[in-house]
Symmetry: D2
Subunit: 304 residues, 4 copies
């Protein structure tokens, strides 16, 4: 199976002021991402508030992204939800509109406590789009699915034919590497934490990744991969350190889903508010975040 | 606002062998519950796999329950989901079909970490059915919303006009009682753990409750309230102990959602399998559970 | 084996202003407890900062308590520590000075993750005082030993000859009752949460208990047992509610170990500061706590 | 302040078959470590079961290590315990016998919940040896002290004069790097997870580290640092992968404290059993672990 090379972006979902879906900015959004070195999008995931959208809205978004992206730019549709039947329908839809791949995180309800439950869940969904690569999105901080990913790979191997790999959004580079080395790299281990691309590269990983801060900091983050390829360690470190500085700021403003989405407005692409139960930033908070970003020179280096 | 008196049942959702919705058993189901002393149903909640159903299926279920229940038998519709807009539509629908009330647990995604987020979430949903009492369903073991319920009551008081109270499914009878005593009993504190009805009664609570094992053990559980009212402590203790014995068995068979649903088949009302990611019981497991229930004399005392 | 009837107090450890041990107040302390209806003391436990004392200090405290208590007033010595060999020596010492019993909570380091580890730990300690009843002190909020107490009882039964029962400081009255009913009440289940004595009594438990707020609120708390025995439910409820009101206040002042110890000064028995890493209250905090206690009429009803 | 360069070993504590202290193997132990490239020892820590030893035993161990190590081989004494006064005495003792430095993890009891508590705890201990560098040992998986280490550095900076840095045993290389970069590297950030030395080096860290598997795999682990220095990335990766393979095996045999200690016997330095509550390995388990280690060629590459 093809492995992803380079960085895929997890886009935010544009909304009108009243919280309804706003498809208008997506064309410009895609162009921005292409311009800044991203290789595709992983839509309707956590950054995209996928769980807070209806099934129909998720389909509309997928259709619009498919419409606007250039040839070769990958669209991976996150189809996970608490209703596996709905997720399977979303998988079928993704296949129908020609998406490159699909993905799903573990359902947060009922909380997944055993590998077998997770395999069953992924199997039911993946079978809805048997011709597309399926990625499991591991983000236990969000759904408490603290399972061994190595045990999971062993369990899906030979059982889910279109299983492609894992978007690994967890701190354990040890487990990441064990999964990466499974059967000499049988599965695609997408690195999923923008703050540790460089260390992961050193270990042999992070050839492909899915980022959340790539929305506004993609030039810097793809720069880490380029610098590493060029053997320029000092440049790679400087870029990784800067990426961490940006993340430090976001962490003080409710994280990427809320704070990061607001940064898009600051760089000229207003994507609107977040849905309930997220608490939207006030204008004062926005100004304060902007000042912190200016202090580290963010606006000279960010996506545009 | 009216307070609920007696026990409300949280029904399972009947399904065909392929996991699709099966509305046929609901009429008999309602009759069984009425016959055994239950005062209403709390549908599409955790026992009902509400989160694993589509919006449309949830509406169909609500309509069917409304169609079959007798006058005065309360139908409360759980409308919680990860998409507050969908939940609000479900609330509107519940009001439209004449349901007695609505309820919602905290969304498991994104995980609720602050009282303000929970209030905002409940507010958006409750406003969809302003004429119906809204109950917050507190079950932190399922969604990690470990928030102070007293702080929550203070925050909703005066802000959500149709806020009625809490279905309290947590172990802290101390916190339960603090909430119950808030402003001299302003809100309705429904007791939500069948294993501790008697101790809660002693403290002045549990005048109303919502049960999960009431589906098959309602006669015993409503018997606890009757015995307490009669001043017959020994009888109340014997019934509460027996209820715990039944729960002991269920805990060994994946809990109420899986094990309890299968008991319904054993007492003559086959409700079919559970949806993914639940692992359904094998025939061997069913036989083993049945033997354990026989050993404690369950089938002589259960609902019928 | 004799079962404990009535309430045992878990005393604070008196200290000089510099944090060194102060044995002087203990004689008056014991008299205060006797006067207010307590049946014994459980020393060097969590309220007593036992883990923050040296082995020698713990022995000195035990000797002083033995010296001052009247005939029939039980002294139970908590001997748990991270070093089982030290705990065993403390058990031998307790037996040597004529203590009534011993107890130990699970060591917090290494964290106990399996019943077999806990049994092994208790076995090594209990064998140091084979003629004394040994109580396991279950307080998982403090040491993360979230194990099934029923499984634990089954595992120690027949293996630790002097195992007497459990000081149960956890919210699950369901599990408490299952343990209480094990082999028709073979083991002594001491209730360990002052906020829920009444509900536990209703279920058939709480014949004996160990309290932390009994230090200053023992008259009220023993009053619950008396009222229940007299069949005066209203009085029992009023007392239990008041006990909860007091605990509400303490919870706002760093809990019983810090806030409760300071209350002793307010009722005339200054026991000094807490040891590191506890943060001691400022005078302003003390004044504020005092005002809150006055507002609920505490000083008219407390121990004296 | 001097920063540590290279790897320090966290030794196991030798015991007789009955669990009593055995000082005899320490001389040979030190020689083994020197031979295999280690730069010092961090004694009485988690690998050394320091919390399971008495104050006197900890002093005896420290004295013996000081007696046998060669000039320039650093002895750092872990002095943490639940009793800060005892820890302070151990710090004084360490200074008195000429140890190079001291360290302490957060007390597991009472559980540390705030930075201020941790600072107070470290301050009281560190002041016992004001001329020695003090290292905080961050290992939240063992003591639940999940605090921000950056906030902690800010809080100790200027308050604890002999604060040297952190032994960082946690997965977040992001937080590690933020701490490393604090005030241009003011504090010494010792890397504390043998499975991720290479990725940490890439990021600019891991110049110094403290290892647990260095006891038997030190040649391989110090080899990673050497290979990196030589610019031989492939060699560094091979060594890091092998180190992970060894750790994989240990994880199946109760981890390093139990499984790792038993490996010492397999490489010719029998250190005896673990103390209660650890469960010692059976002969069958030992044989099985040995076979797994042979299968990965461990015995050709390990320390000797």
């Amino acid at each position: 199976m093809e492995k992803i090379s380079g960085l895929i972006d997890a886009p935010f979902t544009p909304m009108h002021a009243d919280g309804s879906l706003n498809l208008a900015p997506i064309e410009a959004y895609a162009a921005l991402l292409v311009r800044n070195g991203l290789k595709g999008v992983f839509i309707n995931g956590s950054s995209g508030e996928g769980y807070l959208l209806s099934e129909e809205e998720r389909m509309q978004l997928a259709e619009e992204w498919m419409r606007v992206v250039p040839e070769g730019f990958k669209v991976i549709v996150h189809v996970g939800s608490t209703c596996a039947k709905s997720s399977r329908r979303l998988a079928e839809h993704a296949a129908g509109i020609g998406a490159w791949g699909i993905g799903a995180m573990a359902t947060p309800f009922p909380q997944i406590g055993r590998v077998e439950e997770l395999v069953k869940y992924c199997e039911e969904i993946a079978s809805g789009a048997p011709a597309l690569p399926f990625y499991y999105y591991h983000i236990p901080a969000f759904n408490h699915a603290y399972l061994s990913m190595l045990d999971f790979l062993k369990a899906v191997d030979g059982r889910i034919p279109n299983f492609a790999g894992i978007k690994y959004t967890f701190e354990s580079l040890y487990e990441y590497n064990r999964c990466r080395r499974y059967k000499n790299g049988k599965f695609d281990m997408l690195h999923g934490q923008d703050e540790t691309i460089l260390p992961c590269l050193a270990m042999g990983g992070a050839q492909g990744g899915i980022g959340g801060t790539t929305n506004y900091n993609g030039r810097v983050l793809t720069g880490i991969l380029d610098a590493w390829k060029d053997g320029d360690l000092e440049r790679a470190r400087e870029l990784q350190n800067f990426a961490q500085d940006v993340i430090d700021v976001i962490c003080r403003y409710r994280g990427n889903i809320v704070g990061g989405k607001r940064i898009m407005k600051l760089i000229g692409l207003d994507l609107g508010p977040n849905r309930t139960p997220f608490r939207n930033m006030t204008d004062e908070e926005e100004a304060s975040m902007k000042a912190e970003l200016e202090a580290i020179g963010f606006f000279e280096r960010c996506n545009r």
